[in-house]
């Protein structure tokens, strides 16, 4: 009998978008390996998914910035799940841009959280999934990576690195039958964006974003703007000439 259970690893599993995705997967046959920093939040996320119908739910405490600990985590992950059908990389922070401009260490730390740690994880995951010859790597990047804006270019830079890395990796893994999807959410109503003065009409719920992510993974979309209208917004923003863009307050 074919095993239809989806084996899913999520890095940053307690983030609002990641957890909303996991809830949708839990409605089908799914087993999880949840990775996050806060053991209590991980335990709560695991309980929630179990009630919602998930099969095995394992948790693993890891700060993604501790790059040296990645291999041990992945070894445990493969031991637990056997194979990986979906790897969702969803961890991240929203840096305080002004503070990053004054403090090099903070800037590099934030770049590591949002950029380097993702590249490190993807490097290891890519090799194992390439050998496995199947599965999807779903990586949460951001519309902020499409263009550098004074208000948060450190975050944007890290996400741009992730986006470009994914594009290259997609081409490489295509030959092995492994798919890479770059997810670019716009404004999402999550704890990360709490208190930001965002234009209400443009803010999406984590549930709506999760739904489009799960569909895009099924359809093997390459790059997903979510909600979809961000594709049009970013198309315009990407084409604003620099002599205007640099004067705009963005």
């Amino acid at each position: 009998m074919p095993d239809n259970t989806k084996k899913i690893v999520i890095i940053g599993a307690t983030s609002a978008i990641a957890h909303a995705c996991a809830r949708l997967w839990a409605l089908g046959a799914a087993e999880f390996f949840l990775v996050g920093r806060d053991p209590e939040k991980l335990r709560q996320a695991a309980e929630d998914l179990t009630v919602r119908g998930a099969g095995q739910v394992a948790t693993y405490v890891l700060d993604a910035n501790e790059l040296a600990k990645h291999p041990a985590m992945l070894a445990r992950c493969f031991e637990t799940l056997g194979r990986i059908d979906i790897a969702l990389i969803a961890h991240g922070t929203l840096p305080d841009q002004a503070a990053c401009e004054q403090d090099v260490n903070l800037a590099l730390q934030e770049f590591s959280s949002n950029g380097l740690s993702v590249i490190a994880l993807l490097t290891l995951l890519a090799n194992r999934m390439e050998a496995q010859g199947s599965g999807t790597l779903a990586v949460i990047s951001s519309v902020a990576g499409d263009r550098g804006r004074p208000s948060n270019y450190l975050y944007g830079t890290a996400k741009a690195a992730v986006t470009t890395f994914c594009e290259g990796l997609r081409g490489r893994l295509y030959k092995a039958g492994v798919h890479v999807i770059t997810i670019k959410p716009g404004f999402v109503d999550t704890p990360m964006t709490q208190g930001l003065p965002l234009p209400k009409l443009l803010v999406a719920s984590p549930e709506a974003v999760a739904k489009s992510i799960c569909q895009a993974i099924e359809k093997r979309t390459n790059t997903l703007y979510t909600p979809a209208f961000w594709w049009a917004i970013m198309l315009v923003i990407k084409h604003i000439p620099t002599f205007i863009f640099k004067r705009a307050r963005l």
Binding site: K41, Q44, E47, V51, R52, G53, P191
Partner: protein, 432 residues
């Protein structure tokens, strides 16, 4: 600071909103030099969910399930879980919330704090009757686990306690076995209140759900449609579409007015009257018809609306309801959202719970300022004379003497209040 309105949209006042997103961090988040109030979906019609100038603790992040026992149907979940989330997950597994109000877009915490009732009150009581225990966190950091047996006084104060005793963070709810998502429903037109009571009394033993729509313009010689329903084993049918319509904007004037209301009421009465029966209906369409029109509260225009919901003892229920309907018809106000229902012979267990034996009338009124308030004053007199009470979850304006008369356990309740918590309603009716 952000502006927050309740469901009636009667005010837009500034609040400082803090999101509670993990239950183990709530105790650390509550202490503040400002008074706070827990806020779920903001579906209270009046000011029970508002705390202008103060803090609102939004429970949208406390939305996790914790445990479910397939054998006993006991569900433990966080207080910000929506009733809809429970229904959507568990109805396909053969379990349902025993009691839900006319919307499922409310939180578990809100359902407990308002001790909400539904169309099956005569058989199953109110929401609080199905809570095995709950966890309360006070603003001084104290945690109280209470149940009907453990610290039962705290339990009775918190069920229907409007969030004033502390922040409910989790609860264990008893779900109920059902054969499927379908109900068999019958509708009968009635032409007098005597008729209505006849249908209610003769249906309550054999029918789990009873409710009636009443034409509020028809005066003391009431007319309406009596509906009753029971769950049935599933027949293979098409479930309702999940796509919802929404009121996209607030119209400049109320769409419910003296022209539209009689037209609608007549049309509704004559269309439904002819319905072939019995019908098979999906539980969502039977219980929550208004959830299909998101933001329906906007149709009353920019000044918002009131809901007036009273319960009157059965002994005077007929005459007093008749008197209320006559007042309402005389001024031609009201809405097509008008409900008349009998409650069962059980006292609610919450000190401040609304349901009590008798008959409850619920009506929406577009806010026309003084004119509407004058009508309410006349209705208040009837309710007070009949020794009835008004539902706090709906109220934005009742006078204090009616409140004190209607809620005799108030003096007991105030000992359990959290001094760090206050709402617009508590300041208006209790004084702090």
């Amino acid at each position: 600071m952000v502006t927050v309105s309740s469901w009636g949209r009667l005010s837009r006042l500034e609040h400082q909103v803090k999101v509670l997103s993990a239950r183990h961090q709530v105790a650390a988040q509550l202490p503040s030099d400002q008074l706070g109030l827990v806020y779920g979906m903001g579906r209270s019609y009046g000011d029970a969910c508002l705390n202008p100038g103060g803090v609102l603790w939004n429970t949208q992040g406390l939305n996790r399930f914790i445990r479910f026992d397939e054998d006993t149907g006991r569900l433990v979940c966080e207080a910000g879980v929506l009733l809809r989330d429970i229904q959507q997950l568990f109805v396909p597994r053969g379990w349902i919330l025993p009691v839900t109000p006319g919307t499922q877009l409310i939180t578990v915490g809100g359902a407990i704090a308002n001790d909400v009732h539904g169309k099956n009150h005569h058989q199953l009581g109110s929401f609080g009757d199905h809570i095995h225990w709950l966890k309360l966190i006070r603003t001084d950091g104290t945690m109280i686990d209470c149940s009907p047996d453990v610290q039962p006084d705290w339990f009775a104060a918190t069920i229907g306690g409007l969030g004033l005793t502390g922040v409910i963070t989790e609860a264990q709810i008893q779900l109920r076995r059902i054969p499927g998502p379908w109900l068999v429903a019958e509708t009968f037109p009635y032409h007098s209140l005597t008729d209505f009571f006849h249908w209610a009394d003769s249906s309550e033993a054999a029918w789990e759900h009873t409710v009636s729509w009443i034409d509020c313009l028809h005066g003391g010689t009431a007319r309406g449609l009596f509906m009753r329903a029971n769950p049935i084993p599933s027949a293979p049918r098409i479930s309702p579409a999940s796509r919802k319509l929404a009121m996209p904007f607030v119209p400049p004037i109320s769409l419910v007015n003296k022209i539209s209301l009689p037209l609608f009421n007549n049309a509704y009465f004559y269309l439904k009257k002819r319905q072939p029966e019995p019908q098979i209906v999906h539980y969502e369409n039977f219980f929550y018809p208004l959830d299909n029109l998101l933001n329906w509260n906007r149709m009353y225009g920019p000044t918002g609306f009131f809901q007036y919901q009273s319960v009157l003892p059965r002994s005077v229920g007929l005459e007093a309801t008749q008197a209320m309907l006559a007042e309402i018809a005389r001024c031609g106000e009201g809405s097509f959202l008008a409900v008349l229902k009998t409650f069962g012979e059980r006292e609610a267990l919450g000190m401040m719970s609304f349901p009590q034996p008798g008959v409850t009338l619920a009506l929406d009124f577009p806010n026309k300022g003084e004119r509407t308030l004058r009508l309410f004053a006349r209705l208040d007199a009837i309710v007070q004379e009949a020794e009835g009470r008004l539902y706090l979850a709906k109220d934005a304006r009742m006078p204090r003497d009616l409140f004190v008369a209607g809620y005799p356990r108030l003096n007991e309740f105030i000992h359990y209040r959290d001094p760090g918590i206050s709402s617009a309603l508590s300041r208006r009716l209790i004084g702090d």
